[in-house]
């Protein structure tokens, strides 16, 4: 049976590229090295119950089967007629498709936005305020002796992140801390229960005590790898950390500013910040300054809680301050497998990473004004095209209502609440399983996505579908000019 190696996983921004997939008769029957989320996708993607398999058009209120050509024509008509169409999604498809999507958005004078608008959009705005000291993940694997996950739970959202790039990876200058972790488990649980315990850990149900308290453990005196998890609640990732720092909900900003002051040897006039005693905070600040190479990863817990982009501003500012004392980097934990790629392609073609408005024939950018959620919330759009995304499940209610009342085109491999309310549905092929392409890892390292099996007969790639719509839009516009 053919085994395809070095497969890049089309699930999260960690973009593991070491999967081995076994294919038999155009079906995936086994996948190795994958995390549970990835395995679930590989083993169930083809389930016809969840797939869009034919182009559909809404007629008399019902979605009925149509031909591909009819669906293309209808979509092109909708887009040409619109005065302010939105083209949204783009983080679960290939860069090749995004390139065509941008040309389409420009051709129809639309607004195009990717899902970073609802996850790490604030992080991007912060970068535009301050810049960002960052690196590729290998730098962290080779060098980092202090790793912080802030408002991010890699154990659940990026399951192989710690194993591949941080605490449990082996680098040139730093070793994996797996053994240390196991020893610690032993201490906690006793030798007899070790096997059972590690089993439980891997099964995800188990809950282990975490290291927290009023002082950092002695390990922080060493040059070994240390992991700190900062979050509002005890997450699974916290169990793997050398120290868990609990912060009051919506107080991250205060904590960052206090740390910044301490890193600059300033003094606080309060006894505690965000629920953390100042004495402990001083120890943490010393640990930040004292490391050889620190890395701070943050998740949407920070970008979407009170303060939003200012939380990230403070986090980046802290990292920049720390670079005056040691080496420190910061990186957002990107969610969808190619959301970083969407930002990258948008930026090279237009100068801006998301929330693009082509209505005046050149790219304009002002998140808050040209971002899709804001446009929909204020009911300013008059048509929509969604690619590989499910805004009906994710957007605020008012935005969804306004999205749905306009003509809506959806390109998606799977049936979703969004496809169910659409006026035109294109069944598409899964990028990284049924079609190849390029995606960008969370550190913007480009990786090839492989085609492993053939898609169902009527499912085309996003790129192909968009190309056909673009072609038809150009034709209709040409005809109208002649009239």
């Amino acid at each position: 049976m053919p085994v395809i190696d070095n497969v890049t996983c089309p699930v999260c921004g960690t973009l593991c590229d070491d999967l081995s997939v076994t294919v038999k008769e155009n079906a995936i029957i086994d996948v190795k090295n994958a995390c549970a989320v990835s395995e679930a996708k590989f083993m169930s993607f083809s389930n016809p119950k969840h797939r869009n398999l034919r182009p559909l058009i809404r007629k008399n209120g019902k979605l009925i089967e149509s031909t591909f050509e009819e669906a293309v024509e209808k979509s092109a008509q909708i887009l040409v007629d619109a005065s302010y169409p939105i083209l949204y999604g783009w983080s679960c498809t290939s860069c090749e498709a995004i390139r065509v999507g941008l040309e389409l958005a420009e051709e129809v004078g639309g607004i195009t936005d990717n899902t970073s608008t609802v996850c790490h959009g604030p992080s991007i705005l912060s970068i535009q305020n301050l810049g960002i000291p960052t690196c590729t993940l290998g730098q962290i694997r080779h060098r980092a002796d202090l790793i912080i996950y802030w408002a991010s739970d890699p154990y659940s959202a990026h399951p192989r992140h710690m194993e591949r790039y941080t605490a449990f990876s082996d680098g040139r200058f730093q070793e994996s801390e797996w053994e240390h972790f196991v020893t610690r488990l032993r201490g906690i649980l006793g030798r007899r229960r070790l096997n059972r315990a590690s089993e439980l850990v891997l099964m995800k149900e188990a809950s282990l005590p975490v290291f927290s308290g009023q002082k950092l453990p002695p390990k922080f005196e060493t040059r070994k790898r240390k992991v700190i998890v900062v979050d509002v609640r005890k997450t699974h990732s916290a169990e793997f950390a050398d120290f868990f720092l609990q912060v009051e909900p919506n107080k991250d900003f205060e904590l960052f500013q206090a740390l910044r002051l301490l890193v600059r040897d300033g003094e606080l006039e309060v006894n505690q910040v965000a629920g953390v005693p100042v004495d402990l905070l001083e120890e943490v600040a010393d640990a930040l300054v004292g490391c050889d190479f620190g890395a701070l990863f943050f998740g949407v817990g920070l970008t979407m809680s009170s303060g939003k982009l200012q939380n990230i501003d403070a986090a980046i500012a802290l990292t920049q301050d720390l670079n005056l004392r040691t080496k420190f980097v910061i990186m957002p934990m990107r969610g969808h497998f190619n959301v970083a790629g969407a930002n990258v392609v948008y930026t090279w073609q237009t100068g801006y990473p998301f929330a693009l408005d082509f209505s005046q024939n050149y790219p304009r950018y002002n998140p808050g004004e040209t971002s899709v959620v804001d446009i929909l919330s204020h009911d300013k759009a008059d048509a929509g095209l969604i690619v590989a995304s499910d805004p009906v499940s994710n957007f605020p209610r008012s935005a969804v209502e306004n999205l749905v009342k306009n003509p809506l085109i959806v390109i998606d491999p799977v049936i979703s609440p969004t496809t169910m309310v659409a006026d035109v549905v294109f069944p598409s092929a899964f990028v990284g399983i049924e079609v190849d392409g390029t995606a960008y890892r969370m550190d913007r390292v480009p990786l090839p996505m492989k085609k492993l099996v053939d898609p169902p007969s009527l499912c085309h790639s996003d790129e192909e579908i968009l190309r056909r719509i673009l072609h038809q839009v150009k034709r209709i516009k040409q005809q109208r000019r002649k009239l």
């Binding site: 305020n129 690196c135 040139r172 100068g351 950018y365």
Partner: protein
């Protein structure tokens, strides 16, 4: 493709020793030919005809450039390009979007541009952007001066193995030349440190920058690469760094051959600072040009400062960190595992700043004091010293003392008194301009079909509305600027793509890369490489390679190596 006949222009084709003669240039099937029949005629009478411009060093594509774009919406929104029936929209100023980059180069009459800093791990990104950069031919230089494999081979003095690795790298990343940035310093920057000078060993690697430069120079010669090593020196941007620069040139002196230079020093302006600190800062153009005038193994490009608000971006992470501290502006740093680093800081060069004004004089002094124009090329290290859109201005400065004096009268008074520029009366001829903007650059890059208009050359032609017979150009700098700003015609591969400064046709250019043929035994490094590869990188060997299909029009240059 129908033929073209460019009639009656004043032709400047230095590589073929044609110096402003009135003649016709015939084009067929994208090449310069002896003659064509029934060709479309372009009346170039009263105009200057040159080979299409060549840029040896301009940051136009890739991870770092794109981070710069992302960083600066405030830079874009003042300078936008609306879509037309022929062109895509975009944004401009210091870091134009890809389409706009291509159109703007073409409007200046430039047809070949090299992206000089490609982190190998992100080579696919560079090529994807180059594919979206229309109108020009291009190539990219992989960064190798702090690469672990290179450092380890050179430390062990395994030059042939290192050559095999570099040959593999050129194929793997579709690269064109060896780029060295702050040799060894970028590895040190991985832990926030730097190397002090050319003999300061790289932490953890026990090799000096001198050994890296010499080693890669040897490797470059073993591989017969078309271009020399392309070097951004240690200590760039620091007062007193000219000593390091001289040492860098000297360290490969004995590797020079009669025929070819051994080293290209890029954006030399930033490496020609004298003085002990910013207060005693002064130009070292005298020391550098004296050395270059008496040696034949060096070429350099100037990296001319433009007084404007631009974006600095180099692979030199520690240097960018210093700029961040000096300016307090926003700062991006992006280190790449096993290979390199990079940094970005927005920067404004001010006329009234003593240091900036001296920097402005250094670039021009280098160009004017180095006697042989074939050794020195016009660049702005786009966008580091200024956007490439300033080339017409620089051409005017080189050709006209009057144009220089107009600026000198407005710069910092202290700089005006200290600089040697006001006393230089050399004025470039159009012939010399053609050397420093195309012929010399093409020659240094080893691009045989570029930079000239001889039979068989690529039909990349720039026509400027400038009449050297009618006007004393040195007295009319505004006319020079105007003519070079909007090419009357740009012809790319035999097609008219720009007319009167407007893009009339969008075309896609080729991407050159060095396809090195080494002996079988050296090609067998792959299994060895694969073994350590996963210890060094977080991606799989297979996924690191850039397959041919990543280049929309790939143009491999086949080279037989000496190993």
């Amino acid at each position: 493709m129908g033929g073209l006949l460019v009639k009656n222009g004043f032709v400047y084709d230095p590589l073929n020793n044609i110096n402003g003669e009135k003649m016709d240039i015939a084009v067929l099937d994208g090449k310069i030919v002896e003659k064509t029949r029934n060709a479309k005629v372009i009346d170039a009478s009263g105009m200057v005809v040159m080979p299409g411009g060549v840029d040896i060093h301009s940051h136009i594509a890739g991870s770092k450039v794109n981070s710069g774009r992302l960083l600066r919406p405030e830079d874009h929104y003042k300078d936008v390009e609306a879509r037309t029936a022929k062109t895509r929209s975009g944004v401009g100023y210091s870091i134009p979007s890809t389409f706009t980059t291509g159109y703007r180069y073409s409007r200046l009459g430039w047809t070949t541009v090299m992206e000089p800093a490609m982190p190998p791990l992100k080579a696919k990104h560079t090529h994807e952007e180059l594919n979206d950069t229309p109108m020009i031919d291009k190539g990219a230089f992989p960064l190798l001066g702090s690469n672990w494999f290179v450092l380890e081979h050179l430390r062990a003095k395994e030059y042939e193995e290192c050559a095999a690795y570099v040959a593999w790298m050129m194929r793997a990343t579709k690269g064109y030349a060896i780029k060295i940035v702050n040799p060894g310093g970028l590895e040190a920057w991985g832990f926030g440190r730097n190397v002090r000078d050319i003999d300061d060993p790289v932490p953890n690697f026990d090799i000096t920058p001198r050994e890296i430069v010499q080693g890669l120079c040897k490797v470059n010669q073993l591989l017969n690469l078309p271009h020399t090593i392309h070097v951004h020196t240690n200590n760039l941007g620091k007062p007193g760094n000219y000593i390091t620069t001289l040492e860098t040139m000297k360290c490969v002196e004995n590797l020079a051959t009669e025929v070819n230079p051994a080293i290209h020093l890029t954006h030399c302006q930033f490496s020609a600072f004298a003085g002990n600190n910013w207060r005693t800062f002064r130009s070292a153009s005298e020391e550098i040009s004296e050395y270059v005038n008496s040696h034949s193994h060096v070429t350099l490009d100037i990296g001319q400062i433009i007084f404007t608000n631009t974006t600095t971006m180099t692979a030199d992470g520690p240097f960018q960190f210093i700029l961040y501290q000096i300016t307090g502006n926003k700062w991006v740093n992006n280190d790449v595992e096993t290979e390199t680093s990079s940094g970005i800081v927005p920067f404004r060069y001010k006329r009234k700043s003593y240091v900036h004004a001296i920097q402005w004089t250094v670039g021009l002094e280098l160009a004017l004091k180095i006697k042989d124009p074939w050794k020195t090329f016009l660049t702005t290290d786009h966008p580091n010293a200024g956007p490439f859109m300033a080339y017409p201005k620089i051409i005017a400065w080189l050709m006209s003392q009057k144009a220089r004096d107009a600026v000198i009268s407005k710069i910092s008074r202290k700089a005006r008194h200290k600089a040697s520029l006001p006393s230089i009366d050399r004025e470039f001829t159009l012939h010399e301009i053609a050397v420093v903007t195309r012929a010399g650059q093409a020659k240094a890059l080893g691009l045989k079909n570029k930079g000239h208009l001889g039979i068989g050359a690529d039909a990349d032609i720039a026509i400027y509305n400038l009449n050297p017979e009618k006007t004393n150009l040195a007295k009319e700098p505004a006319m020079i600027r105007q003519a070079f700003k909007n090419a009357a015609y740009t012809i790319k591969d035999g097609e008219i793509v720009v007319k009167n400064g407007e893009v009339v046709k969008s075309v896609n250019g080729k991407t050159y890369w060095a396809d090195l043929k080494a002996s079988q035994s050296l090609l067998e490094i792959e299994p060895e490489l694969q073994k350590v590869f996963e210890e060094y990188y977080t991606v799989k060997y297979e996924n690191y390679l850039v397959p041919n299909h990543y280049l929309s029009i790939g143009a491999p240059i086949q080279i037989q190596t000496k190993v």
